[in-house]
């Protein structure tokens, strides 16, 4: 960077105003707890149209009547919903550490192991806010390039202002506000998120990523993403924060909706590394996320790839509704639980259209006291003539205090359907470890190598850069898993 840190901070001070973040920051005073006033306040802060405020309020009223689900294979202390602050505005410059020296050394070591550059480290720790703002400008540059092709990629709240008709048409069309406890809560209080629209026949020329923007806007725990791919279009979307977050137990209830129209393809990749809590299970994120895509048209395709290594508890089932004939749904997943982490994750493939196909490939890794559950539903409806599903579900255990569980649900209402299900559970063998160590490779490196090998089929589905990051991340997440 050409300018020194001081110059950068000065620069920032002026830019902060330029980007208009300050007003909200200054008036940010929503008290903890939730009622209709809070919902209305959030809506008002965002200058939302009436229909959206009413939608939020309907969601809120519905949520009051719901109870928190208990069927998932995880355990945690009850969440005090009245203790949560439902609107968290962008963090001010003064809140973060001022230099890298102030960042927890453990976090820095993690950064170094991840191979994240100094500049990047600053950005991820929220130190060099200039860099965060730089990222915004980077995103803006992209935005212009994308706009040339008619692609809209912006913050959700921005889309509400600039493209209200699109938002209104598709919001809640895949995950209705009545869907489930956490999605309904999100519908009432969502703070921001991403919006993406790909016009008919357009192939998005670059991978779209929430990475920069989320960092820049520092959006809260209730984000909402909506992606619409018009007929014949294609988009690859990356979502992730590969930096560990230093936080207390925090509820993170996001919603992602994807709509793929005729012949469109959406590839959605996630690398999730929220703060998992400490070795004894103190702190960490409750990652209770609803992700669903709809193949609304013929030959549409939606592909979810996720690498879940963070969070104290992960509860998510990225799903595909295969409505259009010949549409395709895919789910590739790596979920790793170490220490006291718990994950209950999988997918739902709902086959409605004819000759619809789905593939599920799940790799669960449990280490320490980690508990890892695969839960998947494959539903073949009566109309889904010629539907096919292939499910492969592998679990890898490291040590003898962890657990792997598999709950496959299969409902078939059409006899022409073809289903294949394969499952395996294995332990990292003493044989394998010894073989590696005899060649000079340390136990820790050997475990990482073996686990990466186990996950290879899923990593192959990730965009190149993400795959490299995911591999490094696994190594870091597995630290202390053996020996």
């Amino acid at each position: 960077m050409a300018s020194g840190p001081n110059a950068a901070f000065e620069d920032l001070a002026t830019r902060e105003y330029k980007y208009g973040f300050s007003t909200d920051v200054e008036v940010d005073a929503v008290p903890p707890g939730l009622d209709e006033d809070v919902v209305a306040t959030i809506s008002a802060k965002k200058h939302e149209p009436e229909w959206l405020r009413d939608w939020r309020l309907r969601a809120y009223r519905h949520w009051r009547k719901m109870t928190e689900p208990t069927w998932q294979n995880v355990s945690y202390a009850p969440i005090d919903y009245d203790g949560i602050v439902y609107y968290s505005a962008p963090r001010k410059r003064g809140d973060g550490p001022k230099s890298l020296d102030e960042v927890d050394p453990e976090v820095r070591r993690t950064f170094e192991k991840l191979g994240i550059s100094l500049e990047e480290q600053k950005r991820l720790s929220g130190v060099a806010v200039d860099a965060v703002f730089d990222s915004v400008s980077v995103a803006t540059t992209f935005k212009d390039k994308l706009a040339e092709r008619g692609i809209i990629f912006c913050a959700f709240s921005e889309a509400v202002q600039t493209h209200p008709d699109l938002v209104r048409k598709y919001l809640g069309s895949v995950v209705p506000y009545t869907d489930n406890f956490f999605a309904t809560l999100n519908s009432a209080v969502f703070s921001d998120g991403s919006f993406c629209y790909i016009p008919p026949g357009v192939r998005c020329p670059m991978e779209l990523s929430t990475y920069f923007r989320i960092n820049a806007a520092n959006t809260g725990q209730f984000e909402r993403t909506l992606i619409i791919a018009e007929p014949g279009s294609y988009v690859s979307y990356l979502e992730g924060c590969t930096a560990p977050m230093r936080d207390e137990n925090q509820l993170h209830a996001a919603v992602v909706e994807l709509v793929a129209l005729e012949g469109a393809e959406i590839k959605y990749s996630t690398v999730q590394n929220w703060y998992p809590g400490d070795k004894d299970g103190k702190g960490g994120i409750y990652n209770f996320v609803t992700k669903r895509g709809k193949c609304a048209g013929r030959r549409a395709k939606i592909s979810w790839t996720q690498v879940e290594t963070g969070s104290a508890i992960t509860w998510k089932y990225p799903s595909v509704i295969l409505q259009g004939d010949d549409s395709v749904g895919e789910f590739y997943s790596v979920a790793l639980t170490n220490n006291r982490q718990q994950a209950d994750t999988g997918t739902k493939m709902i086959h409605i259209g004819r000759n619809t196909r789905s593939t599920i490939l799940s790799k669960g890794i449990s280490a320490g006291h980690g508990q890892n559950t695969y839960r998947g539903l494959v539903k073949i409806q009566k109309s889904a003539r010629g539907a096919r599903n292939y499910t492969q579900c592998d679990s890898l255990l490291i040590g003898d205090k962890c657990g792997a569980h598999t709950f496959p649900y299969i409902e078939v209402k059409n006899s022409t359907a073809r289903m294949e299900h394969e499952a395996s559970t294995s332990k990292i063998g003493e044989d394998q470890l010894f073989y590696c160590r005899q060649r000079g490779i340390s136990t820790e490196d050997a475990v990482t190598m073996i686990v990466n090998g186990f996950c290879k089929q899923v990593f192959r589905e990730l965009p190149m850069e993400f795959a490299v990051e995911a591999q490094k991340l696994l190594g870091v997440s597995l630290e202390g898993a053996v020996g």
Binding site: G429, E430, D431, Q432, F434, Y435, C436, R437, Q438, R439, G440, I441, S442, T443, D445, M449, I450, N452, G453, F454, C455, K456, Q457
Partner: protein, 263 residues
């Protein structure tokens, strides 16, 4: 035993006793190996040959209950398996394990770099490594496609053994222990493997061949042959001993049990 002329032994085993799950497998082994030497350890199944090989490599399933092992002047038993490997101890496995999804070449390069790091050397250049690995694979008549495949996964028995020799060649150990590397090899493969081992022979290196059959020794001529029976070395001699064994079988030793060769 061996030509001493003031040189230090590379490996010195004294009174080594080893148990596994309470059963004593090695009951007092003495063996001294000097740099440049090739020793063959022969013996019937269950005599403790493989146990000896694994104990030298540091397998934790075996409990050393007595004796000592010195390697290049250091207490070998106090070293972790990876430290031994980095210090130049190599074990060619009788049953090389499969590691799904981990490319053979990646594994090899990681191993080489681990050893290089230990020796204070920079990591090997990726292209240099590939060139070297391909060249050595070719010498061992090993299909180069196997470098790209997952370690040992779907390899034939002979391919696995040659892959072990490939690793040995690339890692250039000071002490190579080959655990029944000849088993399951046809005569052509045996010749290739022996060629690989012979190419490694040198004044600074020592090789310990664990084998059930004499036939390997037609190709790799040992300096000394030791016969292991019931956890003890019951005879030591030169190559003639191996030939005698082949002729008379291990049963002959039972008849001569109790007769401990002085070497």
């Amino acid at each position: 035993m061996g030509a001493t002329d003031g040189r230090q032994p590379l490996l010195e085993i004294i009174g080594l006793r080893v148990s596994v799950e309470g059963a004593e497998i090695l009951r007092g082994i003495d063996l001294t190996v000097y740099p440049g030497e090739v020793h063959a350890i022969m013996g019937p199944n269950g005599s403790g040959k493989s146990t000896l090989a694994h104990v030298l490599a540091g397998r934790e399933a075996f409990t050393v209950t007595g004796g000592s092992v010195r390697y290049a002047g250091r207490d070998l038993l106090a070293m972790s398996p990876e430290e031994r490997a980095c210090e130049g101890v190599f074990l060619a496995f009788q049953y090389p394990v499969e590691i799904p999804g981990v490319a053979n070449k990646y594994f090899l390069r990681t191993a080489i770099n681990a050893v290089r790091k230990h020796r204070g050397l920079a990591e090997i250049d990726v292209m240099d490594f590939l060139r070297l690995a391909r060249e050595k694979a070719k010498q061992l008549d090993l299909d180069q496609a196997l470098l790209d495949r997952a370690i040992n996964e779907g390899f034939s028995g002979g391919e696995k053994k040659r892959n072990e020799i490939l690793q040995m060649t690339l890692l250039e150990p000071r002490l190579a222990v080959l655990d029944e590397t000849d088993s399951g090899l046809d005569i052509d493969a045996l010749r290739i493997v022996a060629g690989g081992v012979n190419a490694l022979r040198g004044p600074e290196r020592a090789i310990v061949l664990v084998t059930h059959y004499q036939r390997l020794l037609d190709y790799i001529v040992p300096d000394q042959v030791h016969v292991l029976s019931d956890g003890r070395i019951v005879r030591s001699g030169d190559r003639a001993l191996a030939l005698e064994l082949e002729e008379r079988g291990y049963g002959w030793l039972d008849a001569a049990a109790g007769v401990r060769a002085s070497g």
